[in-house]
Amino acid sequence: MRLWLLYRRELLIEIRSGVESFIPIVFFILVVGIFSFVLNEVVSNESKVLVSVVWITTLFTSILSLDNLFKRDHTDGTLAVAVLHSDAVIALVVAKLFGHWTLTGIPITILGPLIGLMSGMQFEHAAMLGLTLLIGTPTITMLGALVTALLVGLGRGGELLTILILPMYIPILLFGMGVCHLYIDSAPYTSELLWCLALLTGTITAIPLALGPVLKLSQDS
């Protein structure tokens, strides 16, 4: 009896928020989907498998680490103090984004090709992987930070973030991974690379400006 009530309370907490309780399931379907999608057509070529895995892992690493980007500051109330300084908030945001990129984007950009080389990838293929990651990781940070900022203070992390962010990441994933695959196939890749650059430019100019107002709004729970 007591066990049942306690158990119900657990369910209650989860179910209270409606659709939210299905997030883990959606997340599950999503991740299976994305992996299968990637594995599906690359099983013939070792380098391509590696490129795909590196790119996907980049996305997940980014999502998991973005979870904490604003949460801690919001919990201890420093975010509220910060958004009141409307002139300083853009600097703060840029600092935050750049800090995040230095600690996840840069290591990934370096490690990705390194792991590739170690697993027997050709040098120029690894270099191209590095280049796409260099363009891709800041884009990923920007897009992810925007979605994270929208969710600040809602007390729901990981999975919700994932299902909201992953769709945003699809273009950069497709183009970034696409460039590498095309390069490995010795096919022309310039237009895809330009798309990557366009995404980078777009996000890097618009998102830091948008983040200040979004964060201010997020104080209003």
């Binding site: 801690r72 500051d73 919990t75 201890d76 109330g77 420093t78 509220a80 103090v81 910060a82 958004v83 009141l84 300084h85 409307s86 002139d87 300083a88 703060l92 201010k216 104080q219 209003d220």
Partner: protein
């Protein structure tokens, strides 16, 4: 700063209906009322952290200093680093002599290099008051600034507020204990 014709209804219950308020330089304004009457909400609205359903708020001076129920200091950083961060945010360099003076005054010198999460509740509050002072704000919005302070800390904060207002600043305080300021402008919020 003036607040005109404020309406706010979070959830089903109406909190304010046509509230008007104006704060002039050198004034201490005390928001008073029982638990849940909307003091914190009003302060957050005045700070701009929350949007009212209706009404107009004019802020003549920005930024303003806000101290909420949360302490507003990074719990993973030390006291000194928090002071530094605040002054960076406000666009000035931390005058280390001044900081030291503050720390001494608030008896935090021995805890200056501890991280905030290792401090006691009262010490955290002291630290956030110092951050407020470092900000050099004209208008202070304080939500129960005396809670979890001991009597010496309380006295200190009270004097600081009076000094602040004597120098042309103004302060809005939410509180429910008896008034600590003789010349305060008392605003009784509606009993819901």
């Amino acid at each position: 700063m003036t607040v005109t014709d404020l309406h706010c209804q979070p959830g089903s219950q109406e909190l304010f209906n046509g509230l008007c308020l104006s704060i002039v330089a050198g004034e201490v304004c005390e928001l008073r009322g029982p638990n849940g009457c909307g003091k914190s909400t009003l302060l957050r609205i005045m700070a701009g952290l929350q949007q009212p359903d209706n009404g107009k708020i004019t802020r003549f001076i920005e930024p303003l200093g806000y101290l909420g129920h949360k302490f507003g200091v990074s719990s993973i950083l030390t006291v000194r680093e928090n002071l530094q961060w605040t002054s960076t945010l406000c666009g000035n360099r931390l005058d280390s002599h001044r900081a030291r003076e503050f720390l001494e005054k608030f008896q935090l010198l021995s805890a200056a290099n501890k991280s905030i999460q290792e401090l006691s509740a009262g010490q955290k509050r002291r630290c956030s008051v110092i951050c407020l002072l470092i900000g050099n704000y004209k208008l202070w919005l304080l939500d129960e600034p005396f809670s979890s302070l001991d009597s010496s800390g309380e006295e200190l904060v009270r004097e600081l507020i009076q000094d602040h207002c004597r120098n042309g600043g103004s302060t809005v305080i939410a509180s429910h204990s008896e008034s600590r300021f003789a010349n305060a402008n008392q605003v009784e919020l509606g009993i819901s």
